[in-house]
Structures are given as C-alpha cells and as structure tokens.
C-alpha cells in the first residue's frame, strides 16, 4: 500500500495538500520525522516562503541527507510544489543559497520590464504549456490553467528536464521532471479539477 508523506519543514500551508489528497480518496501523513520519511513510498515537498530559511529548516530537522538518499538512491517519487520545486534546483538568488541540486537549474527573480501589467509576485491563474509528454498531464489539456503565487522562478540549464513553461511577459519554467523527480511552480492543490487530476496522476506512478 502507498505510504504518502507530506514533508513538514515549517514552511507554509501543508494541510491543503493533505486535504486535496483526501478528496481524491487517499490518505497522506504530514511528518518531519526522518524515520517516517525513510519509509515513504511517495513524497510531497510543498512550501511557501523564503528559500534560504527553507534549506536551513530542512538541515536543522536532519532531513537534508534523508531526502537526498530517498530521492537519489532509493528513487522514491517526489513532487515539489512552489518553493518545493525551487529547493530541487542548485541555487537560488533568494538569500543566495544552495538547494538540493537534483535539477541542473537556478532560481532567479522575475525580471519584468512592464511592471504595470506584470506585477510581482506573479499571483493568479495562468496557462501551463506542456513541453513533453508526462504522466502528470494524463487526461489534461496541454495548455491548462493553474494557480500561481511566486516572485522567483526556475531557469533550467538542461532542456530535457523542462516539463512545462508558462508565459508572464516572457516564458519561464513552470514544471520540471527527471526520472522520479517532479516539481511544479503552481499549486495543483489549489487549482480545482485540473489540480486534482494532476495529483491523481502523480499517485499512479
């Protein structure tokens, strides 16, 4: 049976992910316990807030090595959401801090020219355009609306990792996928039916 764990590292609203999974009909536990996380069959890494604070919390909780082992050695499927995606990159401009580096990618601040039309944080509904076929987009349109809230975004150095892009004055990477590692900049747990579908797709892995 699936053992779904939502990683709790003190950053933001974890209950909405748990609640959404419950709605799909599966039970997930919220945990910061290394032993519990070791036994997970699927991991969720949500999060809202400051990048460097997040990395600091993960290290203080003793989860940095545990997650590297689970994701890189044991190949446990993991879904990063919002800040969770960004933490999978090598480095972020937010706090000039290093991330897990599971993706060859950087996290950079939006550089907007027309600041009247494109306010930052990028907050609201926007289209996510699939860049390659993926189980995450099963049964979803290749251009689907999802809910975003963020000021920083991914810049990928590895084009084959790019699962989806979104346009906000310029196209930015809104989802990454490599083997067992998935990350989305938007909030599937807050994106009505399309988000529910995407989470259910991840559970099929």
């Amino acid at each position: 049976m699936d053992n779904l764990i939502i990683i709790d590292y003190g950053m933001g609203n974890l209950h909405s992910v748990k609640k959404k999974l419950h709605r799909i009909g599966v039970k997930a536990d919220i945990s910061n316990n290394p032993e519990t996380i070791k036994k997970a069959s699927k991991l969720f890494l949500p999060g809202v807030g400051h990048f460097s604070k997040a990395m600091q919390n993960l290290k203080e909780l003793g989860l940095y090595d545990i997650l590297n082992e689970a994701v890189l050695m044991k190949k446990i499927p993991i879904l990063g959401i919002c800040l969770g995606l960004q933490l999978m990159a090598k480095h972020s401009e937010e706090g000039d801090e290093y991330g897990f580096g599971w993706f060859d990618a950087e996290v950079v601040k939006f550089t907007i020219k027309d600041q009247l039309k494109h306010k930052v944080p990028h907050m609201g509904w926007n289209h996510v355009i699939a860049n390659k076929s993926s189980i995450l987009f099963d049964g979803l349109s290749g251009a689907q609306e999802f809910y975003f809230v963020h000021s920083y975004h991914i810049k990928s150095n590895e084009p084959t990792d790019i699962l989806a892009t979104t346009d906000y004055e310029y196209p930015f990477v809104s989802a990454l996928e490599k083997e067992n590692i998935f990350g989305v900049q938007f909030h599937p747990e807050k994106s009505h039916d399309a988000g529910e579908k995407m989470l259910a797709n991840f559970l099929k892995l």
């Binding site: 933001g12 609203n13 209950h15 909405s16 609640k19 709605r23 809202v48 807030g49 400051h50 907007i112 600041q115 009247l116 039309k117 494109h118 306010k119 930052v120 944080p121 990028h122 907050m123 609201g124 509904w125 926007n126 289209h127 609306e145 809910y147 809230v149 963020h150 000021s151 346009d167 906000y168 909030h187 807050k190 009505h192 039916d193």
Partner: protein
Amino acid sequence: MFRPRVIPVLLLKNKGLVKSTKFRDHHYIGDPINAVKIFNDLKADELAFLDIMASKEKRLISLDFVSKVGEEANMPFAVGGGISTLEHIRQIIAAGAEKVIINTQATNTAFIREAADTFGSSTIAVCLDVKKKLFGKVQTWVMAGEKSTGYSPVDFARMMQDNGVGEIIIQSIEQDGMMQGYDINLIKNVSEAVTIPVIALGGAGNLSHLNQAYRDAYANGLAAGSMFVYHGPRKGILINYPEKTELNNLFYNENIS
C-alpha cells in the same frame, strides 16, 4: 496566458455573512460555510473573508471558523480580522488559509516587515480602505473605516510595498455596496505607484466593471461583495459567480478595451 483573479469578498459579523453599503447597513446574507460550498461548485478563483467587527472588539477572527473554511474551500483563500501578532498569522495559516489580510495593524510597519520576513511576502496582503475626509483629502482609513491614518492611498501603498507586503487590496468605502463600478482613478493611481499586485474592491456590479478595473486601472485581482451575493435589481440574495467561459472571453480577448 495570465488572467486576473476574480475574488468574492465575504464579510462576517456575529458568525453570519453580511453585506454592507458604504461600510454601514449590514444586511444578513446567510451562512458563510454554505457560501464556501456554493463557491466551490461555481469554481471561484479565490475567496476572501473579513471579520468586520474583530478589530473594534479587540479580538481575532474565529480560528474555528477559519478551520471550517479550510476544510471546505477548494480554492485559495485569504482571511482578515483583528490580526495583530505573528502568532495570529501562524494560527490562521495552520488553519488552512493561504493569506492574511491586515488593515488596522498595517500602520505598525515594524510588524508588517516582520510578518513578511517570517511568512513570505505572498502570505501578507494589506487592505487599504479609502475615503475622503470631510472637506479634505482622500485618505486611508483603518478600524472598519472609523480611524484615519492621515496617509494618502498612494503613500500608504508604497509604504506597505517597502515593508515587504505581497499584495494591496484597495477598497473604496464610498463605492462599497453601490454596484456602480470601481473608483477607477483611485485603483489606477495605486497600481501605477507599486510593482506588487493590486486588487480592486468596492463598487463592482457587473462583468464590465471587472474588465474596466483590469484594462484601465491595471488591477491584478478583481474583488467584489454585492455582485456575488445579490441577484437582480431588487437585490435578491443569490450566491453567484461568472462561468469560466465568461471570464475567459472577458480577459483573454485583447481586442476589447
């Protein structure tokens, strides 16, 4: 393509849902949790809840209520009412809200800065209630529109941005409940003064009002109360929300201006 959020704002008083006109005449609308269920079915983009008596009564919006909304809401929601400490914010987020809305305590910029640093800018929204002072200038008000801060909306919005706030809700007290359209100049002035998202509130009565605030005033979010709880010229109570196709036609068609 990006489209602005359309946000029903629900006012709470004595555990019921009410709707005001110019911040007065609170009409009972119904049960707030029932409204959340209906907005789920109608696929609303986002919701906001404001406990309009909390600051005056020196208390926080009920956490039990926020938890109940958190259990039901299928979309992001923001909560305001008497928020004055970091612990309040932590409790509200833990109860399932995405954002807090601060009004009365926004004059305490040290608190605002600390809140943005602790929870992230996108978690902290500030609502600017705006009206003219008698024979005077347009000012930003707090404490349910009863206390003037002395700041112009533009100065106040800039001050909030400088202290890390992620979003400004700009509400015209004079247009509240009138359903005759937003105060476009007010919203435009604030939008032009800041680089963070600005939400228009106060006065929307129909879809073209929403579009006007988006196109002409650069509002990033379009919030309304009356429009989503009343129906028809006699203002019968009916929770409603535009169809997705209506919103797409409204906002994705670049030719309409």
